[in-house]
């Protein structure tokens, strides 16, 4: 599971003579915090046709805005602070042009808009103060933010302005690590009981428990992350079994795939999960340090982000989400001729890049895998298409 930068064939002597220079350049690039112009980094590696390109990294307000201070969200708070860093991110969500990233060290939520170049911090005060936020989601009906806080053992709701609205589930004695919502219900992933607590949004009352094992069917096992697709199905990663479990909102397990292991389609420590608009399932793995992409039946399509680069590789990846509309900003970051279909956002708990942006797409002139002739495959011709 490794990737290589696009490299043209050259003489060994020439390669050796360039090696020292390249190492120096790489070191400098690392020191420059990723701002130096780079060769595009693609996955899968040569000679495969490129499908995923690293586009950008964000590790703090300086990567988003040139403003010297960062505003706290909410009309009630106009405190300005200096430049902000994201220390140790986990959950990530996207809504209306804004990225929401949970910081599990600073116990807050960074909210930034790359196009408008704004970087804000969710107010962290009073009844809405976060103790150990892990994951979050945005309600599609009103844009409110729901955060799973494993120390407070609650799900916390904030409105679009960042005002605290409500806390849910104190009485449930759960340890929530992730949350999903639909128009009526909150689904809190409880790692301590390996189940999903369902809470009524309107009343805040418990509305059931799902995800438990039933006769003949394995339930959730040390579940870490949860995601809801556009059809309302819930997807859970389980570090206990290495399985991705798909449930309906009634709690029926409709599909499960994967197992613990280090082969393709298997998981070491599966973490963030999301389902894109086309039904593809993306799973971040903190052990393999990559994101694996599956089709809706659980068949692996590809993986990316595996170690090999200082800046572009994933480093203890945690949360993952995708964006498939208004990609103009990101298209400008893509290599010439590489057309983006969607952008995949992954958080890294360590390393120089805390939030990595990858473009999923293909070269403009790529006509599909079946168009690659055997001769081209032998010559690595498909890779040539990315040059």
């Amino acid at each position: 599971m490794s990737a290589t930068r696009s490299v043209r064939l050259m003489g060994i002597g020439k390669v050796l003579s360039l090696l020292s220079g390249a190492l120096l350049a790489l070191g400098l690039a690392g020191c420059m915090g990723g701002k130096a112009a780079r060769e595009p980094v693609f996955w899968p590696p040569d000679p495969n046709p490129p499908r995923v390109q690293f586009l950008k990294g964000v590790s703090g307000s300086k990567d988003v805005t040139t403003a010297s201070s960062v505003k706290l969200l909410s009309l009630n708070n106009d405190d300005d602070e200096g430049p902000k860093m994201i220390a140790k991110p986990y959950g990530v969500a996207f809504s209306k042009g804004k990225f929401y990233v949970v910081d599990t060290i600073q116990n807050n939520i960074a909210i930034f808009d790359l196009v408008k170049e704004t970087f804000e911090i969710l107010p962290n005060k009073g009844r809405g103060k976060l103790k150990k936020p892990i994951n979050l989601t945005i309600a599609s009906n009103n844009g409110n933010l729901f955060v799973a806080d494993s120390f407070r053992k609650e799900i916390l709701e904030y409105d679009e302005m960042g005002n605290f609205v409500k806390a849910y589930g104190k009485e449930l004695e759960m340890k929530p690590v992730d949350v999903a919502v639909d128009d009526n219900k909150i689904y809190a992933l409880d790692i301590s009981h390996s189940e999903i607590k369902v809470i009524d949004r309107a009343s805040g009352e418990p509305a059931g428990v799902i995800g438990k094992a039933v006769e003949g069917q394995e339930g959730l096992a040390l579940p870490t992350n949860l995601s809801m697709d556009k059809d309302g199905f819930l997807y859970v990663t389980n570090s206990g079994t290495g399985k991705v479990v798909k449930l309906d909102r009634d709690g029926h397990i409709v599909h499960a795939f994967g197992k613990l292991g280090d082969s393709f389609g298997e998981f070491g420590r599966p973490r963030g999960i999301t389902v894109d608009d086309k039904g593809r399932i993306l799973v971040a793995d903190a052990s393999h340090q990559n994101v694996q992409i599956f089709n809706e039946t659980g068949r692996i399509l590809m993986f990316f982000g595996d170690p090999g680069y200082v800046y572009e590789s994933l480093n203890l990846p945690a949360g993952v989400t995708t964006i498939s509309s208004n990609l103009d900003y990101f298209q400008k970051l893509a290599a010439p001729g590489f057309i983006l279909e969607e952008v995949i956002v992954v958080t890294n708990q360590f390393g120089p890049t805390k939030v990595s942006f990858y473009g999923l797409g293909q070269m403009k002139d790529f006509k599909g895998y079946e168009s690659i002739t055997p001769a081209e495959k032998e010559k690595g011709g498909a890779a040539g298409q990315k040059k």
Partner: protein, 445 residues
């Protein structure tokens, strides 16, 4: 006196000249070479009596018994090219021309027809003197080949094109089939080979044992390119009957061009109903079944029969595109109802309780599950729903479902939160999603 002295010399010279160069007026007489005078269309030199342009005297004596007093002025084709232009300049030359065997086809003195050809307008006897006669005696013949107009398409001497054709194949065909070409150009859908390939890809230009002198019978011809369809036809338990008929694929498809997608003769449903919309033994009249119905199955509303049925062949009941029970009762198991569930909710029959997959439920109790996932008597979809059209909402049977000689009434009604059913299957029962009905009593609610 001086003049008289020259007479013997002049006579001698005249005699010598007549022996060296044959003159027509002396060659063709009532006693000699009389058959040449009867030729209807004589070769120009013959007509002019210029025998010596081809024949040279080699002996003073003529005729010589058992010998020759004349020989041809040149050998083989060289004799002809003295007057006619050479005909061996192009890429392909007819073998007799190449070998200088002009007389293999032409009569040198003249003939009954044009071009010194003996057989008249029907060139078949002439050409089949060398070429295989069987080619021109097929059951279905191309017009020019049938009447022996070989030279309509072929140049008898030489050509740049294969088979001595006068033009590239497509151009040659469209020279006559211009009307076809005009229709092809304006058609919405064109069969790609017709658009660009030689017509001989599919047709034998002389004739064959297959209608429209195709090179192979249908569907063999079509599946030589459409291999996936060929595999389906080979593997399918049931092949759509027209495919095996003489019309073959063209029973439904227009081979050259069409106004309809899929090169169908008409839009999809119209094509299907051209057979399935008639009262034929062993076939339901689907036109009657859907006529004036308030509710049509979604695909039918869109004119699509093949959303459910495979028009070429299938391993499934009613040539459906997926599994569906042939028997009226068949308890649900994974895969058995694929034909319906490939579009309808896949989890419809998987769970006894649901709030998601169906509105046909009493509280959370999935009543589809109750009806179909019944190990003793699982009712198939068609027990309650009409597959094509109905006047009942949800395509529920209104006039009753056929059950042998009886039509079982259904009497289904819908309310805002549920509905009821008073069928010939069980006592009248209601269901409600919000306020579940209690079924343990004998009273219908």
């Amino acid at each position: 006196m001086k003049m008289l002295a020259f007479v013997p010399f002049a006579l001698a010279a005249l005699l010598l000249t007549s022996a060296g160069n044959a003159r027509g007026d002396s060659c063709v007489t009532s006693a000699c070479h009389v058959e040449i005078s009867k030729i209807a269309v004589p070769h120009a030199p013959v007509k002019d009596g210029d025998c010596a342009s081809c024949h040279n005297a080699v002996s003073k004596e003529h005729p010589i018994k058992g010998g020759k007093s004349f020989q041809l002025a040149a050998k083989g084709g060289a004799l002809c090219t003295g007057c006619h232009d050479g005909l061996a300049t192009k890429k392909l030359v007819h073998a007799p021309v190449k070998g200088g065997e002009c007389v293999a086809c032409h009569k040198p003195h003249g003939s009954s027809g044009r071009f010194l050809l003996e057989k008249g307008d029907d060139q078949n006897p002439l050409c089949t003197g060398c070429h295989d006669q069987a080619t021109f005696q097929q059951r279905f013949m191309h017009g020019p080949a049938a009447v022996g107009s070989c030279t309509e398409c072929h140049d008898p001497h030489q050509s740049q094109e294969k088979a001595l054709l006068k033009q590239p194949v497509r151009d040659l065909c469209l020279r006559c089939h211009s009307d076809f070409n005009n229709q092809l150009k304006s058609a919405a859908f064109q069969h790609p080979p017709v658009k660009k390939d030689p017509c001989t890809t599919c047709h034998d230009p002389h004739g064959s044992g297959v209608p429209m002198f195709l090179v192979k019978k249908m569907p063999d011809l079509c599946i030589s390119c459409h291999t996936a369809i060929g595999k389906k036809i080979t593997d399918a338990k049931v092949v759509h009957k027209p495919i095996k008929s003489e019309a073959g694929c063209s029973a439904c498809h227009s081979s050259h061009f069409s106004k309809a997608k899929g090169l169908l003769a008409f839009p999809e449903m119209e094509t299907c109903l051209s057979c399935h919309g008639q009262d034929k033994p062993g076939m339901k009249n689907i036109s009657k079944e859907i006529a004036k119905k308030k509710y049509l199955h979604g695909p039918i509303k869109n004119g699509q029969c093949r959303a459910c049925h495979d028009p070429h062949g299938s391993n499934y009941f009613r040539m459906l595109g997926g599994n569906y029970p042939e028997t009226l009762y068949a308890p649900y198991k994974d895969g058995l109802y694929d034909a319906c569930l490939k579009c309808h909710e896949k989890n419809l029959l998987r769970f006894a309780d649901t709030t998601i997959y169906t509105k046909f439920r009493n509280g959370n109790r999935n009543l589809h599950y109750v009806h179909v996932v019944n190990s003793r008597k699982g009712r198939t979809c068609r027990v309650c729903h009409a597959p094509h059209a109905s006047n009942g909402e949800k395509l529920m049977h209104v006039d009753g479902v056929e059950f042998g000689e009886w039509k079982i009434p259904v009497n289904f009604t819908i309310t805002a939160t549920g509905g009821s059913c008073a069928p010939g299957c069980h006592r009248p029962l209601a269901y409600d999603r919000d306020k579940p009905q209690e079924y343990s009593t004998n009273k219908a609610k």
